[in-house]
């Protein structure tokens, strides 16, 4: 019988070696960043033995870089560190909002952006914010690093595009230009501690006249994966983000949604509310974009 094992490599190469070795031996291997989802899964869903590879000790998964051109967020940085980073909040307030919404203060002490993304939940709070801000996954692979847009990283419910032996190092972004800002809103029945019933991440760019020149919209918990909604972005681009444009974008989100009914909400409800969230998030992003202009 396979038993549990735990490894906490200190370099990327060591981590890749452990993955290769254990997977090669036919063992089940699971990469752990914050571990807040993994621990619950092991308790409630599948407690079967595995090798747990803890990637919290790697420099690359802990690096937070706010460069002049590029932003890099290590995959294992706990939410509490990201929300406390003023430069990051200034650049990507919507993403930080999404991070901040993952669980309680206690969860924030452990849960990471990388874990939330790799977990690939349809309701993952950060994923739509990452898509809206055009995040790119930096993946450690046997042959070196490879990159992939967040949009194509999540491939199904709980499924990501990592191949055996790979793991996520971090996510990078173009530093938002002047006049660009993001926002993320989700709906939950309480004020905290729930999984999103629906969510919307929006990034908009405004020119000097207040006209929207670029936009990205992504919605959560209304389809098997977080999805980008180009039709909603199109409704915003070229407008002054007036009520009519917001309404059109909201309707585009509702139309793009293909939700299910479950313990967290009905399909009809999710479809309606995701449109509301898109509108409200866009208004927040627009307000922020004006301030940065």
């Amino acid at each position: 019988m396979q038993s549990f094992a735990y490894a906490a490599p200190e370099t990327v190469q060591q981590a890749l070696d452990v993955l290769a070795e254990h997977q090669g031996a036919g063992r089940r291997v699971q990469v752990m960043a914050g571990g807040t989802d993994l621990m619950v899964q092991m308790r409630l869903i599948d407690g079967s033995p595995r090798t747990i590879v803890d990637i919290k000790k790697l420099a690359e998964t802990n690096r937070l870089d706010i460069g002049a051109k590029e932003i890099y967020i290590g995959a294992a940085i706990p939410g509490a560190v990201l929300t406390a980073s003023k430069p990051l909040v200034a650049c990507l307030p919507g993403l930080v909002e999404a991070v901040d919404l993952i669980g309680s203060s206690q969860i924030q002490g452990r849960a990471s952006l990388g874990g939330n993304l790799c977990n690939a939940s349809p309701a993952g709070d950060t994923i739509s914010a990452l898509v809206a801000s055009a995040g790119v996954c930096v993946i450690a692979s046997k042959g070196g690093q490879r990159e992939m847009p967040v949009e194509s990283f999540v491939v199904g419910v709980g499924k990501n595009a990592l191949k055996p032996g790979e793991f996520l190092l971090g996510i990078k972004f173009q530093r938002p230009a002047k006049g660009t800002a993001d926002a993320y809103l989700r709906f939950i029945p309480r004020t905290e501690m729930d999984i999103a019933v629906a969510g919307a991440g929006v990034s908009v760019t405004l020119d000097a006249n207040g006209t929207c020149t670029a936009a990205r919209v992504a919605i959560a918990a209304v389809a098997p994966t977080v999805i980008a909604v180009p039709a909603a972005a199109d409704a915003l681009i070229g407008s002054k983000l007036d009520a009519a444009a917001l309404d059109k974008a909201g309707k585009a989100c509702s139309a793009a949604a293909s939700p299910i009914s479950d313990k967290r909400g009905t399909a009809d409800y999710r479809r309606t509310v995701v449109g509301v969230l898109c509108r409200r998030a866009t208004a927040i992003a627009a307000g922020r974009a004006k301030e940065t202009r």
């Binding site: 409630l44 029945p189 409800y269």
Partner: protein, 755 residues
């Protein structure tokens, strides 16, 4: 009996005696106890909501190294039918026995079918996985409509409805029918200018105590056993375990730990008899704890209900007739809190003509247990919602409408007797004056108001008061302290004896060290056990007077007790100095031995409790989300012994009620499997969901208690459901009769109203 007097310590906000241990982590709760050589017990639970057990194969599990005992229904004795002489919802010992461990049939998802004890919990898990159970799966019956349908699948083929005027000819899922009536209901409705009617549903909800059930049981080869557990009633654990296992009561010692919440849910047994069987078979102590998932699936939630209420009234608001049709889910075994629900539904009002019909109905859900004022929140939610609609229709202020019909001393309660002094009108008058009743509301905001009621309970209690050699005091009692009752006991002993509060310590003792006490429930402890503490303290005073008289060589009648010392009565010509409790205690060996006061009683006259709650909410018209902006709880406590803990009961009950109103519910799939058996998706209120909960304590003394105490623990959960629902009605203009008022339900109603 109630004595008007100036109190020295009663009514002060002292620090509770068990407080330091609780803020430092020293206090030992149910799962904190361990014994050397202890095994870990775990339960295999049914994956089906309704099935016959055809075969259980434990052979493979028993071969696993480290497994010391396996138990199934075959290891438990057959228990005959016998009513459990508790209150509502308690049921039958035969049902209790099969609820603890299924025999031939499982009646809910999560029902215990086997248990193992192993050297570690990991090995116990492996052993559970190796037990093979063959089931014949039956159709689950998951709600009242399905259960009460003519051709319903029967959960118990031998169950015939009790209480019907005519004996039923065939079995059904309706375990019991009950009727209460007065006057002529048809005449009453004929006299009405306005008749309103509504049907309301409430979901299955859980008490939500944060501490899962836990125990350690150890039974020796001679049949003598000790159980350490978290319970609201260790004497009940003893009696129930002895019945379920056929053991001698005197052979079972139950030691209560600190208890991490109960709210009625820890008034029965689940793990204790199982741990005993495993301990007997293994010859070692066995520890069992429930996971949160097990707590939701396999302890005792509160009934889902369907209630139809009809009210007839004159134009001026006077009620002429009321009727109620109430159906309560019991779970897989009979015994819901339908009867108290039926007795409470119209209790706050004077009604000349009424008819109340109640049904106790089996469904394939866990057997319900008591939950804070069991039965009352559901039926009174329905009635108080309808009264709100009636007030609107009659254009009468909801407080005035209730005042017009409110019961007061001398009114005949719908459940029978005439009320003695009660504080319902006082609560209504206070609400009228409360600034929150006239606070301004903004757009999409609404205010709701509702009344609450609970009988409160008396029952059996006993207490001892020991005077230590330096005059300090130890109170020994047997009512597990869930909400700070040791502080109240110490206050009452200090008040009587005339000593500082800090000199009194209180011990909740085990079944072999304390006299018998009924369960901590029914809001009875401060009232009844407190009465025992007062009487035991008076026993001490009588003894002290006698010792002082003997010391002074005067007649006992010439001594009185004042401010903690014996003094000669005014006018008595004796050249003596007062004797303090400490002096008498120090001299006790010379005057007849240690000072030991005792009292045991069956407390009569627990004063009924009333409340008024007001909620202000804002409803987001686009998402249906409800935010509670203000909440005001006004309640008659009779006399608040420790006001901070009375407020705490009011605030905690308010928030449980808010949760019940807004988001809490058991969600089942078509196969009868609960989908949200965890705190993540059961959605109890969290700190950021709430405002401060404003409280006003009203004190209309209960004439049957020396200090005027009424129970305060249960009333607080009754009114919030309708207060919140009425506020949502006011904010949206729409009456949504079914709880919870979750965002999808509200948004759907808003959209339906638009269309």
């Amino acid at each position: 009996m109630s004595e008007a007097r100036d109190y020295k310590v009663i009514g002060t906000r002292v620090i509770r005696p068990d407080g330091v241990d609780k803020v430092t982590g020293r206090a030992n709760f149910g799962a904190d106890f361990s014994l050397p050589g202890m095994l870990y017990g775990k339960v295999l639970r049914s994956p089906h909501a309704h099935a016959r057990i055809k075969k259980i194969d434990t052979a493979a599990a028993s071969k696993i190294e480290g497994v010391y005992a396996i138990a199934t229904g075959a290891d438990f004795p057959k228990v005959g039918h016998e009513e459990i002489t508790g209150g509502e919802g308690a049921g039958d010992f035969a049902d209790l026995a099969t609820n603890v461990m299924a025999r031939d049939k499982v009646v809910y998802h999560g029902h215990a079918v086997a248990a193992v004890a192993a050297i570690s919990s990991a090995i116990a898990d492996a052993a559970l996985a190796a037990i093979k159970v063959e089931y014949e799966v039956l159709t689950p019956v998951m709600d009242l409509d399905a259960a009460m349908a003519d051709n319903a699948t029967l959960i118990d083929e031998r169950l015939f409805t009790a209480g019907l005027p005519q004996k039923p000819t065939k079995p059904s899922n309706v375990a019991a029918y009950m009727e209460f009536k007065r006057g002529d209901i048809a005449q009453g409705f004929a006299e009405a200018d306005v008749v309103v009617e509504g049907t309301y549903r409430t979901p299955t909800v859980h008490q939500g105590y944060i501490e899962p059930h836990a125990c350690v049981a150890s039974i020796n080869q001679g049949g003598q056993a000790t159980i350490w557990c978290c319970t609201q009633g260790h004497f009940d654990v003893r009696s129930m375990t002895s019945k379920v296992l056929g053991l001698n009561v005197a052979d079972i010692r139950v030691i209560p730990s600190e208890i991490g919440g109960g709210f009625g849910g820890k008034t029965t047994v689940y793990l204790e008899p199982v741990a005993m069987v495993l301990s007997k078979k293994s010859g070692r102590p066995v520890k069992m704890t429930m996971t949160r998932d097990e707590v939701f699936r396999a302890s005792g939630p509160a009934s889902a209900t369907k209630c139809t209420i009809k009210i007839g009234a004159k134009k001026d608001g006077t009620f002429t007739a009321m009727s109620a049709w109430l159906a309560y889910e019991a779970g897989g075994y009979k015994g819901s809190s339908m009867a108290p629900g039926a007795m409470c539904v119209f209790a706050p009002y004077v009604v000349p003509h009424f008819l109340i019909q109640g049904y106790d109905v089996l469904v394939n859900k866990p057997k319900v247990a008591a939950y804070r004022a069991p039965g009352a929140p559901q039926s009174m939610y329905a009635c108080e919602s309808l009264i709100d609609d009636l007030a609107r229709q009659l254009k009468i202020d909801p407080i005035e409408l209730r005042l017009k019909n409110a019961v007061s001393a001398g009114s005949q309660a719908a459940y029978g007797p005439k009320f003695n002094a009660i504080g319902f009108k006082e609560c209504l008058e206070a609400a009228k004056k409360h600034p929150n009743y006239s606070a301004k509301l903004g757009p999409n905001e609404g205010r709701g108001l509702a009344a609450g009621f609970w009988f409160n309970a008396g029952m059996q209690s006993s207490a001892e008061v020991h005077i230590n050699e330096n005059g300090t005091v130890t109170v020994v009692e047997g009512s597990p302290d869930i909400g700070g009752s040791r502080a109240s006991m110490a206050l009452m002993a200090a008040e009587e004896l005339g000593v500082p509060y800090e000199q009194v310590r209180v011990l909740v003792a085990d079944t072999e060290s304390a006299g018998y006490n009924n369960v901590t429930g029914g809001s009875r402890v401060t009232f009844a056990t407190g009465m025992a503490v007062i009487q035991a303290s008076r026993d001490i005073i009588a003894q002290c007077k006698q010792r002082a008289a003997a010391t002074w060589g005067i007649e006992e009648e010439l001594v009185e007790w004042q401010d903690g010392q014996a003094i000669p009565k005014p006018g008595v010509n004796a050249d003596v100095k007062p004797l303090s409790l400490a002096q008498i205690a120090a001299n006790s060996g010379r005057t007849g031995g240690p000072l030991l006061g005792r009292a045991s009683l069956n407390a009569r006259g627990p004063g009924p409790g009333f409340s008024i709650n007001m909620a202000d909410v804002r409803v987001d018209p686009e998402t249906g989300k409800v935010d509670v902006l203000r909440f005001t709880a006004i309640q008659d406590a009779g006399k608040a012994i420790h006001p901070a803990y009375v407020e705490g009961q009011m605030q905690g009950g308010a928030v449980q009620g808010i949760g019940w109103a807004l988001n809490e519910e058991y969600i089942y799939d078509a196969k009868g499997v609960m989908q949200n058996a965890g705190f993540l998706d059961y959605r109890m209120p969290v700190a950021s969901d709430l405002p401060m909960i404003d409280t006003w304590i009203i004190e209309v003394a209960n004439p049957s208690h020396p200090y005027g105490v009424r129970g305060v623990g249960e009333v607080p959960i009754v009114a919030p459901l309708a207060a919140v629902a009425n506020a949502v009605r006011a904010a949206t203009g729409i009456r949504i009769p079914d709880l919870p008022l979750s965002p999808p339900r509200i948004l759907a109603a808003l959209e339906a109203a638009k269309a």
